[in-house]
Symmetry: C2
Subunit: 206 residues, 2 copies
């Protein structure tokens, strides 16, 4: 009996149900936001009853918090990979490419994050002001050193990262608008890749 997730090793069934609930919750929360989602929707999509969900997670908020906690690590991973010893332009364009791939492969995570930040990050502000801020500062320093060494054009490192986050996540978060404007013919991500690569290569060249 988990209830408040006591110190017991979970059985296979428990792990699978927990997984199914989180998977369904990601679907629902990313589509409707936290307040717009109901436990009923999550239950229906997960194929379990509503009280059963509240057996595994004490509250609706607990489900949301669990998702957000996993999310941030996934989100920061590509940024970690930027290597001060690598070729500056390749490192940054590689980062752009990674972020675009994540927007394509994990649009629900992107929207969950966007919803959270849009509302003022009520559940994740400490992590934004801690982990995200510090990792960004470290990598901004790397970019700054590349610029000083004459390997990159002289641009503001923080705003460079903002622009990368904005342009890549846009294709997941605003996908209904992107698809509406392009028409449903083509895959937005396929054409966005070369566009962004060219854009950043051009602006970063010293």
């Amino acid at each position: 009996m988990p209830r408040s997730q006591t110190t017991k090793k979970p059985t296979r069934i428990q792990r699978e149900k927990t997984k199914a609930i989180l998977e369904a919750a990601l679907d629902v929360f990313s589509d409707f936001g936290f307040r717009g989602s109901t436990i009923d929707m999550i239950a229906a999509r997960a194929g379990v009853s509503k009280p059963n969900i509240l057996y595994y997670f004490d509250t609706k908020e607990a489900i949301h918090k669990t998702l957000l906690a996993e999310l941030l690590q996934t989100w920061l991973a590509p940024l970690h990979q930027i290597d001060a010893a690598g070729d500056p332009i390749e490192e940054i364009c590689g980062y752009v490419s990674q972020k675009l791939k994540m927007a394509r492969d994990f649009p629900r995570e992107s929207k969950l994050f966007a919803n959270e930040i849009l509302q003022g990050a009520p559940h994740i502000l400490p992590e934004i002001q801690g982990e995200l801020k510090e990792l960004t500062a470290v990598k901004a320093r790397v970019v700054s050193d590349w610029i000083k060494a004459g390997k990159l054009a002289d641009i503001d490192p923080h705003h460079l990262f903002f622009s990368i986050w904005a342009t890549t996540q846009h294709y997941a978060d605003f996908d209904i608008q992107v698809r509406s404007v392009l028409g449903d013919e083509s895959d937005p991500f396929a054409s966005a890749g070369p566009f962004l690569d060219k854009m950043y290569r051009t602006m970063l060249r010293p």
Copy 2:
């Protein structure tokens, strides 16, 4: 008695109250999204009673729709101004500058729009697929002609617009993240202006 806004000329009081309600609703909806907002919150902020709000607007959704309808025109205005007869790079950089200024001066409108699109544009999809799509197509054609004339670098016009929307609106929609990462010292918009101007000038140069 408006109720369903019959064909009567509104008095001064009615116009002012309507205005106050819409102003308060913009505050609340942009912060909490449609589902996350309550009529009570709007009433409290507008300084009127809940039933009084429902005297001026039949439903909560009616308030939201009214705000969105006004919003789209404001939002499209800068795009209209792009002039095929002007200097290509100045026209586009002027557009970027306009959009950034709007993000700074109308952050609530930006967030309201972001919330709506993020949830799949439930109330504004026809306008996205109509007005926005068509105006974008027209202006993409202008950019395309500039490229053919050798006045701009060869980039995808639609993705150019996406990147402009993403990078400028980011400073309003994700402002809690931007401020967290930068620290509260400086004004993000002040440093974003020169960054974006430089970025687009560089990438657009033929």
